[in-house]
Symmetry: D3
Subunit: 122 residues, 6 copies
């Protein structure tokens, strides 16, 4: 399997439905970017040892919360976090843990993204 | 125990030595800020259920890497991560995982902070 | 009075209506976060001496403008700024003052948030 | 010609229509801010030698992508980029180039802003 | 007086010594940038009505704390804050006020910048 | 040639010396990260059509200036910009162009990084 195939395989376990949406959205404007995400993010990074998918999604949603302005990606990775086995409580707790480090506003944005993602998931 | 006492107890398990340095550095200019960190960060947040200290430090170093410009706090929390049981490999892997989400420059800054912290710890 | 009660008392003077909305929005997903904001932000920080509520809201809206992506919180604190006595002109001038420090894009975002908040307030 | 007049002349070449919208949006709340953008951004900066309008717009959209949360300004400057002669392919490639430096989430936000701007432009 | 002269006059009241250092540092590489700061920041923005120099410096140091990575400029404006009449206590309190909005790490960076600036000022 | 070999070939044209330093610095702590930068940044992104190396470095230094706190990477890419044919004047002008979009503080940080890089290069 090449990296793109590995990426597709990993993505199927993490969030196949959202991946389809992004692939669709990118195909007429930047299809190469979709390949890069498959090869680098899902085929290389997520395929590495040492941390499991639950830890990796916890890191991803923390990073997305912290940089701000990435609520779309955050909703996708909140769903992905549920898919790989994080509970709703663990996701919310991850966000609350960030409050002393990034302040309440970014945490509130993440919590409200979670609220939407949880509603859609239920 | 009040929250400050709980904070001191948790901090002793996480990173007592660094806490002393920060307390010393703040005592003539903003001693109240030290109390707030004890009460809110270590007495309230770190004392919550649902995530353990290893997960909490993984979230903290991810958030510090992502916001950038916090290398001093990152070095303290890399040491704290080691103290609560994360391995050097897990810390480095946490940083590498962030590359697709924040780009290489911030990841490199964190890796070099880890290099210094690991050398000091050894 | 404990810190939560002090926070509620201060919040009533600053922005009771918005606080109700946030409390409602958080109660099913992260009610503890609401308590933390009451205790730490409004019960501890806003209750301190040295700066008055008008100065504190001026600092808050500057920080929200600067970090970007916090337009929801900005609208709440623009209303809060009006509630504690800042004029519309002072709020706009605070945002304009930031232009040489953060550039025009974030300032424009804040001005348009103010435009909405002022319209709602009138 | 004073700087405001130079700014208006440059802006007409870069993005007259969007400028009208911003002027309209600001005139009741912060008309001075509109003048500052005309004088400083378009009358001083864009009027300088050494880089042409195509290079300047490439720099502008890179900076807007990187800081995040400025999708409104990004859409305006994607249109401006087309107006001064950058192709859709060059704009998309500028955004893709940023992936190793800022990560995929901000790049995706910019690509989707481009998609909207291109559709409106066609 | 043109805007550059107004800027020089205002700067003399705010922070003449630091201005000399920046002018010296820029003169061989980007002297025009020095003029722009004089004309736009000190000749236009600081010269406006509605807010006084103390309020303007309070906004400036809040914005610099919040964006992070601007400790050099922060030290200059902490000195400027003292020059226009803010007390050391008010400067520290401004930084502490930001904790719930940006988190402790950026606040600590600002407090330590203040510690250096206060020591140099005494 | 595989992507790593393409990356090495491109890197040799862009900044061989700095690449050696980074390779050395990473080899004991995160050698895989070095490979990822070679494969993704230099073997994939810099190898794409549509934009030349001069345009790509202009985008890179703009992105590094804008995100802040990346002065080490900025110095490397200022040297790389010179290597691929950008003049000192064009690099400085790129930074000055950013002033209306990110404010003066980040621009000053980049100018001072350029000053160091130019001195080292001469």
């Amino acid at each position: 399997m090449n990296k793109k195939e590995i990426g597709l395989k990993n993505l199927a376990k993490i969030d196949g439905a959202a991946a389809e949406d992004v692939f669709e959205a990118l195909k007429n404007i930047a299809p190469d970017l979709n390949d890069m995400m498959l090869e680098f993010a899902f085929g290389t990074i997520y395929d590495r040892k040492c941390l499991d998918f639950k830890q990796r999604e916890m890191i991803t949603i923390t990073s997305l919360l912290t940089q701000g302005g990435c609520e779309n990606q955050l909703r996708v990775h909140i769903q992905a976090s549920l898919n790989v086995g994080l509970t709703q409580e663990e996701i919310v707790e991850t966000f609350i843990h960030c409050a002393p480090y990034v302040g309440f506003p970014r945490v509130l944005n993440a919590i409200f993204a979670a609220k939407e993602a949880f509603k859609k998931a239920d």
